[in-house]
Symmetry: C2
Subunit: 325 residues, 2 copies
């Protein structure tokens, strides 16, 4: 399958690498809205300006759109679905139904297939929420994130006056995890589920007490959490916080039996050294799936819920049954 990347940030870089690791994928180009000569790719894949895409209408099996969910993807994915099979990692959970409808309309009209919201959450975590709830109808779901870097929260700290750089880790509360895993089905507040650790590089002479106060009282981002703020130097930030690890757990506990007498715990957990590289690997697997599905005549917008797992693998159905079932 011939893949192309639209947008070359952390995620686009990850897809470049994940496509190289896939035995059946060929990456035919990176498309950017910047000046192509300013974009340094890692491999020898050609870089084109986004405006050249119209010359590639029959040369790309799946276009993987690596844009941001806030403003890029709501515009890009429906627009590009008019000419290509497309895939994105749209992750604004509340806006998924509207995005789905827009992409579905464009893809159906043009006879293409699209898949939105691939990645690990939404994505692999969503799949596990669905499987677990289908199997254990009488139960309760929990999602814990971390320990990992939240880009959105790190950005929010950087916008504070006097802050040069920052890294925010989301950390699940061990006691909450233990209670959930024990099948106790606790009711947990936001504060009881996660803590937030902030590592902040401040300008020389900045009012550290004010910065700490502004972080800890920031609505939505930090006010509802137990937050710790640690000031470090730029050298320390670069040395100790260069990575973008993440992960988490989706847990469902439920009961079976005529009197609900048997408890069951289903847990799916991820421990990722590189959030964007793992997300990219998920994207390439779902690119394979929609490529196969389009070959069978399927059009319109899909999500991870609509993809039969066998379509994600480069192995044949016979090999899968013999080796993995």
């Amino acid at each position: 399958m011939k893949l192309a990347i639209y947008g070359y940030g952390n995620l686009g870089r990850g897809v470049e690498c994940a496509a190289a690791a896939a035995p059946d994928a060929e990456l035919i180009g990176v498309f950017t809205r910047r000046a192509p000569e300013t974009v340094k790719v890692h491999s020898d894949v050609p870089v084109y300006h986004a405006s050249e895409l119209e010359n590639f209408k029959d040369k790309i099996d799946v276009l993987i759109i690596c844009g941001g969910s806030a403003t890029d993807l709501p515009e890009m994915t429906p627009a590009l679905a008019k000419d290509f099979n497309v895939l994105d990692s749209f992750d604004t959970h509340a806006a998924i139904p509207v995005h789905f409808d827009n992409v579905d309309r464009a893809a159906k009209e043009s006879g293409h297939i699209a898949l939105i919201s691939a990645g690990w959450d939404p994505g692999m975590f969503s799949l596990n929420r669905l499987y677990a709830s289908a199997v254990l109808p009488e139960g309760k779901d929990y999602t814990f994130w971390g320990r990992g870097v939240s880009q959105g929260h790190s950005d929010a700290i950087r916008r504070i006056d006097g802050v040069l750089d920052a890294r925010q880790y989301t950390v699940p509360v061990p006691a909450a995890l233990d209670a959930v895993r024990a099948g106790e089905q606790p009711e947990l507040t936001t504060r009881e589920k996660h803590t937030r650790e902030c590592y902040v590089v401040a300008e020389e002479g900045a009012d550290l007490a004010r910065i700490e106060r502004e972080i800890k009282t920031m609505p939505n981002y930090f006010a509802d959490y137990d937050t710790t703020v640690t000031f470090i130097t730029m050298d320390e930030l670069k040395r100790d916080h260069a990575g973008i690890p993440h992960g988490g757990s989706v847990i469902r506990t439920g009961v079976t039996g005529w009197n609900g007498e048997h408890k069951h715990v289903i847990e799916y957990s991820l421990k990722l050294d590189s959030n964007p590289e793992f997300t990219s690997s998920v994207l390439v697997a779902f690119a394979r799936a929609i490529y196969k599905m389009h070959g069978r005549g399927v059009t319109g917008c899909k999500t991870v819920f609509d993809v039969a797992p066998a379509d994600l693998s480069p192995l044949s159905p016979e090999e899968l049954r013999a080796k993995m079932l």
Copy 2:
């Protein structure tokens, strides 16, 4: 959807209960090869002799076959697929390709759909092996079982002269689990992965040393494992070992990055109070899926790999996208 059960042992009892917990299922009968009046069901579902099935050809949407993999299912599933949409939990991994072909032929000829090898292994564990390998092509898979009761190993002990009853627990070795979770990708022998704990009730005056020796040296079942044998009384067995718990973990560790510099760990784990009741819950979810698929005209034999996750849920695609994605 109208379900029926064929065979009423531990698994059939579990399906009876799981069908009652499903919001969209109606259980219309239990079919048995025994004398129906000798079969005591828990609910008020009618019990019929297996020979009466021919009168139910248009009255059952999915027939869930609750037989044994050794001799029952290889005969039953292809035979019943001639008249019904069928589902089984065939779990002899090595014989799956042959069983698949036999069932596929029967189901395609008759225009029915069948799904084999549903449960948790094969089943949910298989799905997680497939998803993880598709997402992390450069990696290594591990499956650990337990702590839980192995019926097959318990039965093997019961066949030893002088043994009245026995319960065998399969237990993963903590050090092996730790090494795998740390992403070390160890090569593990059978002995290094699991230990076997046996609780045995012997006849009065039996030669306990001989029984212990026969267990520990039994080929395939125990010889390759570190096995402990504890003799207990029948009262202790009934008091402390009445349940049928099981579980385990499927773990894939792999790398991404141009130099494989980023490690990732994907783990799916189950902790089940009742192995047959959880397996039954999986069966009912997949019964829902093949019922929907058959409504769309799909025929032939399928496995869990061929089922789009959305088909497992009683919720609509719109609800799933809004609530679980």
